[in-house]
């Protein structure tokens, strides 16, 4: 297991609800990220993707959040580290990129000062070396005039530029793991392609492991090597990207893939998954997807599904076998 960069085992994150109640946002989430690999974390809004990533970074508020399970990063149990040790890891060994580049940068700090912050916190570089390194990372992320950009304020840059700066900031200390939380959602399609290409370049050149959180299956197909599908706080399917798109096993994944329009296909109406994600406080018993699933049987509503291997490297949490689902479909 030495080639694993990040291993998450049985992660459960709960939020305080009212005075004494806790509601579970994600539970029993397990996955791993290896060096030099882009892993996609997919699911619709509110399924626990961001909660998972923030749990890995331990960025949740302590008094209103409870995290259990194991998060092991290069052999270190992150949940057991002191705050100070965790600070030394954040931005240094694990970095994060956020969804909205325009609001992710401090509006009253020059780009140069913000870039320098992570470097001065985590390295012993001199002021001059920090400046040189800042110019270097900005150039790496494709900013045409790094020297000038360093003196700019965030509002003087476009969204795509801000996201590049954000990535430069995240990459400045050469982290082993990069968590990208919907890095391209707020950007238009051409910029999106550039940013994805940039992340691919970072992966290739630095052997960085990347956890890419997105709801966009197109992005996943283009960049990831493995995909984890989450639904209502649970992992429902995990597979290599080709396998997932060719043989999706879980009805939720099938629904997601079916709802993506394809070129050259003439459909009257795009298929969609009926219903919406259940409320965190009122999760159904058994399989959480059962109320929206067209294959759902009686046992789906009373038995908790577990992830099981359906083929090598491919796990699914559907209680029914492929054959059983076909029978239901034809019945």
């Amino acid at each position: 297991m030495s080639d694993t960069l990040l291993e998450v085992k049985g992660l459960a994150t709960e939020f305080k609800h009212g005075k004494k109640n806790w509601i579970s946002a994600v539970s029993d989430v397990s996955f791993e990220v290896r060096p030099g690999e882009i892993v996609g974390l997919v699911g619709e809004s509110g399924c626990g993707k961001s909660v998972t990533s923030l749990s890995v970074m331990r960025l949740h508020r302590k008094d209103t959040t409870r995290i259990s399970g194991d998060i092991i990063f290069e052999g270190k149990h992150l949940l057991e580290l002191s705050d100070r040790d965790m600070q030394a890891i954040r931005g240094n060994e694990i970095s994060m990129i956020f969804q909205e580049p325009m609001s992710a940068l401090d509006p009253i700090m020059r780009i140069g000062d913000q870039l320098a912050e992570a470097l001065t916190l985590h390295t012993d570089l001199s002021k001059k070396e920090v400046h040189e390194r800042s110019v270097e990372v900005l150039r790496q992320v494709g900013i045409p005039e790094p020297e000038m950009t360093l003196r700019n304020y965030p509002h003087e840059l476009s969204g795509g530029m801000c996201q590049r700066v954000m990535i430069a900031m995240a990459m400045s200390c050469e982290p082993r793991l990069l968590i990208a939380d919907e890095p391209t959602t707020a950007l238009d399609v051409t910029i999106q392609a550039q940013i994805l290409a940039l992340m691919e370049k970072i992966r290739r050149e630095n052997n960085t492991g990347i956890l890419l959180i997105t709801h966009d299956l197109g992005v996943v197909a283009e960049t990831c090597s493995r995909v984890i599908v989450m639904y209502a706080g649970h992992v429902v399917e995990e597979a290599p990207v080709d396998e997932l798109f060719k043989h999706p096993q879980h009805p939720y994944t099938q629904g997601l893939i079916a709802s993506v329009p394809r070129l050259g296909e003439r459909l009257r109406r795009l298929p969609s998954i009926p219903g919406s994600v259940p409320d965190l406080a009122a999760m159904p018993d058994g399989c959480r997807f059962a109320p929206r699933c067209r294959y759902a049987q009686e046992r789906c509503r009373c038995n908790d599904p577990v992830l099981h291997e359906v083929s090598p490297d491919h796990t699914s949490a559907c209680l029914l076998s492929e054959q059983e689902r076909e029978e239901v479909a034809h019945a």
Partner: protein, 296 residues
């Protein structure tokens, strides 16, 4: 040679000029005439506070028994008091003490309030509840009454007036800054700061505090006016400056005994206090209007 120079200037002119935020601010601020007038008066009174004692026409503490309670005249333009001391000279000389007291009290009170507000807003939880409940208790007293109580306990004198005024400045600033912190704290860039490894204290001072500066500056400028009034009131009530000291509130206080016979003794110090407080309030209003993006 000359051709290259021309083309260079031409290209320099064609370049879009970066918007200088300071210039923009000055432009917006100067459009508000009352605020500019306020600022001008503040600068004037500050200059008086610095050089006042050395430009007085008479020694502010010299008695002149030939001119007791004399009304305004060419010799004594603002008249004299019951000991024949020149009122104009006393007000000039007193600017230093009056403004000094108010400014010092405001700075100390604001600094303490800011730190408490930052801690309460940023850390939240029990710390927040505790600080805010203490502030609520202090809010329950009328400000001046609290200052009187404090001065009554620790004794009269200019230093104690400063402490009293500073103490009742603290809760309002703690509350204002806490509110601003709560707003800034929910910004994504604060989370980003933590995600790159900033400690909580560093995040609080480097990333959250600058976001509250706007509220701080505006409220500080308004607070100074209030502090001048409070400090003068305390002196007027006999808690602050002693009778011999030239302080605006104390001068006013002495004059009240002669309200019927020599109204100039209360009119001129009262007018100066009024104008100074007004100037600070107008300036504060102008600052708020200029800085608050919601009002633009």
């Amino acid at each position: 040679m000359s051709e290259t120079t021309t083309s260079q200037t031409a290209s320099a002119e064609a370049l879009p000029k970066a918007q200088n935020p300071a210039k923009q601010f000055i432009k917006k601020f100067t459009q508000r005439k009352s605020a500019v007038a306020g600022l001008a008066f503040i600068i004037f009174i500050l200059i008086i506070a610095v050089i006042g004692p050395s430009i007085t026409p008479y020694n502010p503490n010299a008695y002149d028994y030939n001119a007791l309670l004399a009304g305004p005249s060419p010799q004594h333009i603002w008249g004299t008091d019951e000991f024949g001391r020149d009122v104009f000279s006393r007000i000039l000389a007193g600017a230093q003490l009056s403004l000094g007291t108010a400014l010092t009290a405001s700075v100390i009170g604001t600094a303490a309030g800011v730190v408490l507000g930052l801690i309460a807003g940023f850390f939240g939880g029990i710390v927040d509840s505790f600080i805010m409940r203490v502030c609520d208790v202090m809010f329950a007293f009328p400000g001046i009454l609290l200052a009187i109580a404090i001065v009554a306990i620790i004794g009269p004198g200019i230093t104690n007036v400063m402490i009293g005024v500073a103490v009742f400045t603290v809760p309002s600033f703690a509350r204002i800054i806490r509110g601003a912190v709560l707003e800034v704290k929910s910004e994504l860039y604060v989370e980003v700061a933590q995600s790159i490894g900033c400690s909580r204290l560093r995040t609080m001072f480097v990333h959250v505090f600058p976001g509250t500066l706007q509220a701080l500056i505006v409220n500080f400028s308004m607070n100074v006016g209030g502090a001048i009034l409070s400090a003068s009131s305390l002196s007027f009530l006999g808690f602050g400056a002693s009778v011999t000291q030239a302080e605006w509130g104390a001068i006013l206080s002495q004059g009240r005994n002669y309200l019927a016979t020599a109204p100039h003794l209360v009119f001129f110090p009262g007018l100066v206090i009024f104008l100074t407080v007004l100037a600070f309030n107008l300036f504060g209003d102008g600052l708020r209007d200029t800085l608050d993006p919601k009002l633009n």
